[in-house]
Symmetry: C2
Subunit: 305 residues, 2 copies
Amino acid sequence: MINRVAVDAAYGRIRSRVRETPIMAFDEVVLKLELFQHAGSFKTRGSFNSALAQGVPEAGLIAASGGNHGIAVAHVARELGVAAEIFVPTSSAAAKVAKIRSLGAAVHVTGDFYADAQAACDARVAESGALAIHPYDAPLTVAGQGTLGIEIEQQVPEVGAVLLATGGGGLAAGVAAALPDVEIVCVEPAGANAFAAAVAAGKPAPIEVDSVAADSLGARQLGNIPWTQLGERATSVLVEDDAIIDARYDLWDRAQIVAEHGGATAWAAMRTGAWRPSADGTTVVVVCGGNTDPTDLAAIASADS
Amino acid sequence: MINRVAVDAAYGRIRSRVRETPIMAFDEVVLKLELFQHAGSFKTRGSFNSALAQGVPEAGLIAASGGNHGIAVAHVARELGVAAEIFVPTSSAAAKVAKIRSLGAAVHVTGDFYADAQAACDARVAESGALAIHPYDAPLTVAGQGTLGIEIEQQVPEVGAVLLATGGGGLAAGVAAALPDVEIVCVEPAGANAFAAAVAAGKPAPIEVDSVAADSLGARQLGNIPWTQLGERATSVLVEDDAIIDARYDLWDRAQIVAEHGGATAWAAMRTGAWRPSADGTTVVVVCGGNTDPTDLAAIASADS
């Protein structure tokens, strides 16, 4: 198990490298606006922790990613002055692949889903000598993502529950380790329900992925480390794609915030009533990513007029 | 002169109606992210203060606006359950006019610039019996905008200077009233320089308006009340349109924040070095509005790849 000690150590390592992202009251909850993190998502936390704890070889960094983890690793490599090689599937959003390239990393597009890109990455790791950073199933990654929980505790001391979009499970696992007394709510698209499937099977189990948020939440199976952290503890909530699209538009329409679909997924659980806050403590909803093409938001806005 | 007492009174009135907008460290300054305010800009503060202090007649609210003030008045009217009538010039951004309509207000598009819309609005006020809310040249408006200064003081106690985009001058005047010991920096487009022109003339003086930020900073003359608050005190800084466009893109590229051009204008003064922080205290840069069509940001992002 990863515990708070590991998360505190991670925070010591990465604190000067990451933004303390803001919070904002919104309806009856508090939004944690992690989409404003360097490189556009929480993934920067785990990537910096992995690189700084292990040291980076001359060959640089290497990773597979649906997109956000790749952007984060490319950002970390640029900040540390080393090379990065990123494997992405064809399902990655064009805006994400463009961002990885603009950060100077070498990009390989391969396979339909994240798991395919991870397999190609694994094959390349041995010959390249670069440091591989797994997006969710590695202790240093999970501990790094958990630093988000430390900030939540500092910013919202009365926190009672945290709602987190869940793909491979790294973020939720890290925040669970950081905040042992807080309810952890894993919100997933109905079409990308790796955590719900693990709960049903009693262990991580393969799923079919089909969701508008697949480019960030499209893991085909929950990570083993996340399962250890979350299995007996986290609440599972599913939301439909329509609700995710609506929640993303709602953040734009009422708060001028441009989240990606995965970033709006936790808010969808509140907005639909799929999850209801208990009386105990404040509910924090993490808006975890903003690497997106905002064009369709403008199109919806025009259609309203 | 409007003083801190008036601003404190305004804050007491509107506090439960406005968002305490977040701050975030960014390079060597702190951003005050007022673009996430209800209705997308600081204008909601002054509009609520004006309506709540005076009471709203049955005929509702009426205002002229380059756009943001109109959105704010429409929002306030909807929240208070009264009608709103808004006069906007043809130079208003389509996204803003659409937002006013979506809030249920009656919209009249008239004249090329804000001043033309204000004249049409003034003519209508007498016959309508509605409460007119001036966008910047009224004490209650200025005191309401000043509540932003109270939040800055609470969030950044060591603040030494505040950079604010300036059009008619209401926001800068209010923050100056709230924070008598802090340097107030009025940042204007070179092509919409009402404050600089007033400084040069020794009093508010008419200007020609030609700027990418004209839809929010396009006042043809500084307000008289703002001049009283700012004339002997505020620093004047001008930035070119290219720098504003670049600053807006920079906020999107590095922080996933979608500001409007006027909202990025204060950041442009930092980014170009047109204003440099002194050693005394923290510099706060206000990102004051986000009512914009984000499509062109996506286009720039794609062109980069």
